[in-house]
Symmetry: D4
Subunit: 151 residues, 8 copies
Amino acid sequence: MKLSVYLSGEIHSNWRETIEAGVAKAGLEVTLTAPNTCHADSDDCGDRILGSEENNFWKDHKASKINGLRTRKLISDADIVVVRFGDKYKQWNAAFDAGYAAALGKSLIVMHGPEIVHPLKEVDAAAQAVCETPEQVVEILQYIMTNQLPA
Amino acid sequence: MKLSVYLSGEIHSNWRETIEAGVAKAGLEVTLTAPNTCHADSDDCGDRILGSEENNFWKDHKASKINGLRTRKLISDADIVVVRFGDKYKQWNAAFDAGYAAALGKSLIVMHGPEIVHPLKEVDAAAQAVCETPEQVVEILQYIMTNQLPA
Amino acid sequence: MKLSVYLSGEIHSNWRETIEAGVAKAGLEVTLTAPNTCHADSDDCGDRILGSEENNFWKDHKASKINGLRTRKLISDADIVVVRFGDKYKQWNAAFDAGYAAALGKSLIVMHGPEIVHPLKEVDAAAQAVCETPEQVVEILQYIMTNQLPA
Amino acid sequence: MKLSVYLSGEIHSNWRETIEAGVAKAGLEVTLTAPNTCHADSDDCGDRILGSEENNFWKDHKASKINGLRTRKLISDADIVVVRFGDKYKQWNAAFDAGYAAALGKSLIVMHGPEIVHPLKEVDAAAQAVCETPEQVVEILQYIMTNQLPA
Amino acid sequence: MKLSVYLSGEIHSNWRETIEAGVAKAGLEVTLTAPNTCHADSDDCGDRILGSEENNFWKDHKASKINGLRTRKLISDADIVVVRFGDKYKQWNAAFDAGYAAALGKSLIVMHGPEIVHPLKEVDAAAQAVCETPEQVVEILQYIMTNQLPA
Amino acid sequence: MKLSVYLSGEIHSNWRETIEAGVAKAGLEVTLTAPNTCHADSDDCGDRILGSEENNFWKDHKASKINGLRTRKLISDADIVVVRFGDKYKQWNAAFDAGYAAALGKSLIVMHGPEIVHPLKEVDAAAQAVCETPEQVVEILQYIMTNQLPA
Amino acid sequence: MKLSVYLSGEIHSNWRETIEAGVAKAGLEVTLTAPNTCHADSDDCGDRILGSEENNFWKDHKASKINGLRTRKLISDADIVVVRFGDKYKQWNAAFDAGYAAALGKSLIVMHGPEIVHPLKEVDAAAQAVCETPEQVVEILQYIMTNQLPA
Amino acid sequence: MKLSVYLSGEIHSNWRETIEAGVAKAGLEVTLTAPNTCHADSDDCGDRILGSEENNFWKDHKASKINGLRTRKLISDADIVVVRFGDKYKQWNAAFDAGYAAALGKSLIVMHGPEIVHPLKEVDAAAQAVCETPEQVVEILQYIMTNQLPA
C-alpha cells in the first residue's frame, strides 16, 4: 500500500520534518508533498517571474495564482491531506485547502492544540482524524498502511 | 435569469441584511441563503437535540455535523458563494466554505477590507470578484443579471 | 428551504409515520420518500409482472432489480438519507443504501438504539448525525430548515 | 491485464488466504487488499493513537474513522470489490462497503451460502457475480484475466 | 413521485402508444419522450436544413448529428430508458442508446421477444428489468410509482 | 420538450434577435440566453463596480472575471450552445466558450460563413451542426423539438 | 505517447491480429485489449463457474455479467475504443459498447464496409473516425502517435 | 514532483523548442506534449488515411477529427496547458483548447504579447498565469517544481 499525503498549513514550526523522519523510520511508502514553505519566495514569485506590480493586491494575486499551480496539482494527487493549525496566525489558506480537499473527496487529518478546538469545529467535523502532534500523524499512517498499532 | 447565492462568513455585522435589501430594491430574482447565524444555537444544537456531552470536543463535533447538513445542502445548491471576512475573528469555517465551494466549481465573491488582503491572497486568487462592501455585491448581482451598471 | 429525504431501513415499526406527522406539524417543506414497505409485494413483484421463476434466487433477483428502479431514483433525488436499524433483522439492504448514499455524497442520518452501536460503527462514522428516535429526526430537520431548536 | 481487488466482509474464516493462494497458483497479476482483519486492533486504534474515550460511542467513532482512511483508499483504488457474508454476524460494514462500491461504479462479486440468499437479494442484485466459495472467485478472476475456464 | 422515461428502439410497431395509453389510464406522472419516429424525416433532416450532400455518408452524418441534439438531451434528462428490439432490423442505434444510457447511470428496461434473448444478453445484463410487452412496462412503472401490483 | 440555449459570439450583428423572433414565431419553449452584448459595459464593469485600475491588464482582468460570473452560470445551465463567428474579429472568447461547452458535454451548433471553414475546423469538428444563418438555427430547434422539418 | 485501445465487435475474422501486427511493425506503444473472443467459452462461463441453469435466459445472464467484469474494466481503461461491424450478425453488444464508451468520453473509431453505412449512422456520428480496414486503424494510430502519415 | 504539460497554439515560431531546452537544462521531470505542428499533414491526414473528399468542408472535418484523437488524449493527460497566441493568425483552435482545458479543471498558462491583451481578456481571466515569453514558462515550472526562483 502506497499513499500520497499533502501537508498543508503552519510554516513556522518543523512539524513536516518530524512526519518525514517518522515515516522514513517506519519504512512506509508515503510520498509527502507540501506547498512552498519559504514565505518570502511564495510572496515574491509573481513579481519575480512575471514582472513587478505597484499595487500589492495584484502582487499577491499573481503570486497566489502561481503557487496555486503547485498546490492544486499536489492536492489533487493526494490520498490524504493533513492540515496543521497553530494558534498565532490566520492561516486562512490552510482552512481553504481543507475545504477544497474535502469537496474533492480527499481524506482529511487535522492537527492542532486543544485551545483552538472551538473555532476549528467545522474543519474538524470534515476530518477522518483530529490529532495534536506530528507523531500521531505518523502512527495513523503506520497503522492504516501496516496494521501495526503503536506499542 | 435567476440565481441562488449563499452568504458565508462573518456573523457580527448586518452585511447580509444590506445585501438582502439591495437585491429586493433592485427586483432581482435571487435566492439568498446563509448558515444559522445565531451563535449560541449553532453551538448548542448537538447537545440539545442528540443529548449533552461532557467533553466539549464532542459537543462541538455533533453541533458542527448537524449544521453541516444545512450548509452542505445550501452550498451545493448555490450558483455563487459570497464569503465575508472581518478582521477580528479566525473564521476558519468561512475559509473552509470558500475552499469547499471552489472545488465544487461554484463562483466565489470574496468581501473584506484592505487590511487583510495579504492573509487572504489564496482565497482571493480563487474568486471571480474581490470587493469591500455589501453594496458592491448587489451591484455585481444586478449587473450580471440585468446588464445594468451602477450610475 | 426545501428538502428531499429518503427513509431507508426497518419496515416493522411506524417510525416513518412519526416523522411524517412531525414534519407536517412543523410545517416543513420536506418531501419524504421510502422504499415499498409492503414486504410481500416487494418479494413478489418480479414474478407477478415478469413471470414466475422456479428458482428462488432468480425470483428474488428479478424482484430486487425492479425495486431498485424505485430506490435508485429516490436516493439519487434525496438531499438526506435517513437509515433506521432495529435489533432483530439483518437489514443488509439498509446498510447497502447507507453506503450507496454516502458514496453519492448524500448526507446521512442514522437512527438506532444504543445496544447496536458497536456493529454499526462504520455506518455511524459516515453519518452527519446519529440518533435514537424519529422525533429527533424531526427536530434536526426543523432546526436546519428554520433555525429553531426544540424547546 | 492487471486487477486490483478489495476483499470486504467476514473476518472469522480464512477465505482471503484461499483466494490469495489460488491467485498466486494461477499466476495472475492481482493486487489483493483488505481491511485490517484484526478485530481488537480495529476496535482500539482510535483510543490507542488519539487518546482514550470514556464513552464507547466515541471510542468506536474515532476507530471507525481511522479505519475508514484505509478502506476508502483501497476501495477507491479497486477494480473489483468482493464481499463475503457469513450467517452469524451482522456485518453491516460489509453491506455498507458493497453499497459504497456500487455507487462508485466498482464491479461487485458477492460470496455467501444459499441460506442467506433472501436477506441479501438487494446486495446480490447489484453484483456482477454471486458465488459461494473463494475458489469460484479465483476461477472468475482467472477466466476474465486469461480467458481460461476451469477444467 | 414523477419519472421521465425515454422510449428508444423499434419504430415499426405501436408499442409507444400502448405505453402512453397505459400510463395515462393509470394516472401516473410520467413524462414519456422518444426519438423522432418518422423514418423519412430523420434521414432527411440534415439535407433539408443544412443543404444537400452528394455523398450519402455525409447526408447520413449530418442527419444523425442533428437527431443527436434531441436524443442526447432526452436521454440525459431521463430517469429510465426503455429500449425495444424487434427481430427484423439491425437497430444498432437502439443498442447504442442502451450502452450510452447505462454508462450515464440511467436505469434500463429492455423489451424483446424470447427468440432474441441470446444476441441481446449483454444488453439485458445491464438492465434492471427485461420484459416482452409494453403492458409489462406500464405495470413496472405503476408498481414502482404507486406500490400497486397488477391484479 | 423545453430547451435552454446560450448564444455566444459575434455582437456586431442582429443574429440573436433573428433567432429570438424565429423561436417566438414557432412557439418553441426555448430559453435564450447570452453574454452582455454591450461592448462598453462589459469592458468597464470591473472599474465601475470594484474601483478603477491604472493598468489596463487588470482593468480587463476584473471585468472579465465579473462577466464570467454570468457566462459560467448560463453556459452550465444550457442544453445547447450556439457560437457565431464573423470574419472580422478575433473572437477568441467565442472559441473559448465553444471549447468550454464541449468539455462540459454541451451540444454545440456553430454558425459562420464558408470563407472561414478552414480556421474553424477544430471548432466545427466538435459541433453537432454547422450552419450559416440564424434561420437555420431556428429550423434545427424547431425540428428537434417538434419533429417538423421546414417546408 | 502511449495508448490503450480496446477492440470491440466482430469475432469471426482476424482483424484484431492485423491491427496487432501493424502496431508491432510500426513500433507503437499501444496496449491492445479485447473481449474474450472464444464464442463457446463466453457463452458457458456462467454455468461452468457458478453452476448450471436450466433456463437459457439465466445461463446467458450469468455469463454476460461475468464477461462484463472484463469488458467494463478494459473499456474504462481505454483511451480509444475501436468497434468493428460485419454485415452478417446482429452484434448488438458491439453497438452497446460503442454507446457505453461514447458516454464515458472515450474516443471511438468505427470500422465497417460501405454497405452498412445507413444502419450505423448514429454510431458513426459519435466517432472520431470511420474506416473500412484494420490497416487504416493502424495508420490512424501511427499518425496520432508519431505524426507520420502513410507513404 | 512530475508534471505533464501540453503546449497548445502558435506553430510558426520555435517557442516549444525554447521551453523544451529550458526544462531540460533545469533538469525538471516534465513531459511536454503538443499537437501535430506540421500544418500540411494536419490538414491532409483525413484524406490520406480515410480517402479523399471533393468538398473541403469534409476534408477538414475528417482531418480535425483524427487530430482530435491526439489532442483530446494529451489534454486530458495534462496537468497544465500552456496556450500561446501570436498576433497574426486566428488561432481559434488554441482558444478552443483553452476553454476545453479550463472546463476539465486543468491549470492554464497563457502566453502572448501586450498588444493582444484586450481580445484575450476572457482567456487570460481563466489562467493561473499570463506571461509573454517561453522563458517565463520555464521559470514558472522550475519554481513550482523545485521552489527555486530565477536569480
